[in-house]
Amino acid sequence: MDIFFQQIINGLVQGSVYALVALGYTMVYGILGLINFAHGEVVMIGAMIALTALQALLAAAFAPVLAVLFSLMIAMAVCMALGYSIERIAYRPLRHAPRLAPLITAIGVSIVLQNLAMMIWGREYHSFTLPFTSTSHHLGGAVMNDVQIGIVIVALVIMAGLMWLVHHTRTGRAMRAVAENPAAATLMGVDINRVISVTFMLGSALAAIAGFMVSANYGIVHYYMGFMLGLKAFTAAVLGGIGNLRGAMLGGVLLGLIESLGAGYIGDLTGGFLGSHYQDVFAFFVLIAVLVFRPSGLLGEKLAERA
């Protein structure tokens, strides 16, 4: 029972991160019908920038809380600029190209960013430690620390804010209009290029926050961290129904839970044959199962609509 409760907590924490990253995939897909496979690398760049900024700010004797806050803001700003540039440079010229072209380009961008990060930050693991102690709280037999509580709360606030933006502001309305019918949105006076840029920047800001969160939670950053995280968040987006914002959030949390419960019990299930380091397989079981049995995802509409 204690393991169960603990894995639920771990799953919610990890799921919050997946949800934020999945939102980036799903927003871009909703508007462009493009799977931005470079999105995972944006998360990684966010983590790296946050690390560098945090170290620099602490070295400059900033108060710990301010250093954390500013480093997050710097990471968000850099990622927004990065997301904007990726769209402008790599995807926009291919707006009317066959769908395979931007997909291959996305993989190319991903490789470029990984190598760039490797050149700047090296191949080694860097430790990411917050400048304050994270107290552990005992809930029944399970443990949850301040960082984990922070992750869940911040993720909830961000997601609520995003939903408000999309459903109750002029820009959000324009985003939904462009997603549904770009030509008609143009006839309303919407500059769809601007809406697309805003979408990339929003998704990238969420990616930076997610990058900060995983780093703070695991205490480690690495130039390759975006790959698996991106793949899993993409899985979460597909699970929820790609293109659907609520689906991305639901898919993220569900995938986090499935993964951590799976990891918690895989030893028992296989009689000790497979250990918890096999947790990654669950995400891909989920991906395959969704693609086979419900390609439109849990909350998605028929895929044909956008194909």
């Binding site: 309305r173 939904r176 008609a184 006839l187 006076g189």
Partner: protein, 239 residues
């Protein structure tokens, strides 16, 4: 009666790949006029409106609006200049509510109180939409969707309103209602370019008309004259 032309199109040519859909058409519309462009399926009516709205780029020709060339103004900026197109098939946002659709029409307008007044004005013009303001537009009937499309276009305060086959696919009673509304809008001083396959209705509503055939204008004149002409009678009115 010399009215200043609001829109002047000269020798407009538009191609899709290698296929020339408009072979050099010319037309003028004066401020406040209701002009119709009629022609059979595939004549190039939609192509004309899309080129005027900026969704298609002409190969050559001149398009002057309020004495300034439109050719290098991107589509989304033409709305702010007062040019609004209700596209063929209506182009409503099915997953937005009726009210959100109308607010999209006011996207280029910044005055919030004015937008609220405009909303009420549209609801007065189309009481049916007022009842359905919180409903997703995709759940509406075809006629109601046409009302949404027209009300949405009016939300931008157009100087030139272009309508692409507003009667398409609608029941006769609804067609009548839509045409009644077009006359109302025209009476309020909005300049209208009406594209229709229903030549009789269009010519009865309009002051002047152009007949488009295979990408070229073959006839033009006062609507009443066109309505009486043998050529139009034979080709479009089944007489």
């Amino acid at each position: 009666m010399t009215k200043t032309p609001l829109l002047e199109v000269q020798d407009l040519k538009v191609s899709y790949g290698g296929i020339q859909a408009l072979k050099g058409i010319s037309l003028t519309i004066a401020q406040g006029e209701l002009v119709t462009l009629i022609g059979s399926n595939g004549a190039g009516k939609t192509t004309t409106l899309k080129a005027l709205a900026g969704l298609l780029h002409p190969a050559s020709g001149k398009v002057d609006y309020q004495d300034k060339s439109l050719l290098h103004i991107p589509a989304h900026q033409r709305v702010a200049n007062g040019i609004s197109l209700v596209p063929e098939g209506r182009g409503i946002f099915a997953r937005l509510t009726v009210e959100e659709n109308l607010l999209m029409g006011a996207y280029v307008r910044s005055d919030k109180t004015e937008t609220a007044t405009d909303l009420e004005r549209q609801y007065a013009l189309f009481p049916r939409l007022a009842e359905r303001r919180t409903q997703l537009a995709g759940t509406l009937s075809g006629g109601e969707q046409q009302m949404v499309a027209m009300a949405r276009a009016l939300m931008s305060h157009p100087t030139l309103l272009m309508l692409d086959e507003p009667s398409m696919g609608l029941a006769p009673l609804m067609v009548e209602k839509i045409f009644e509304t077009i006359r109302d809008i025209s009476a309020q001083g909005v300049t209208i370019l009406l594209v229709e396959q229903n030549a009789k209705l269009a010519l009865e509503a309009a002051q002047r008309g152009y007949v488009l055939e295979s990408g070229a204008i073959t006839l033009s004149g006062a609507a009443s004259e066109l309505l009486g002409s043998d050529a139009v009678q034979r080709a479009y009115l089944g007489a």
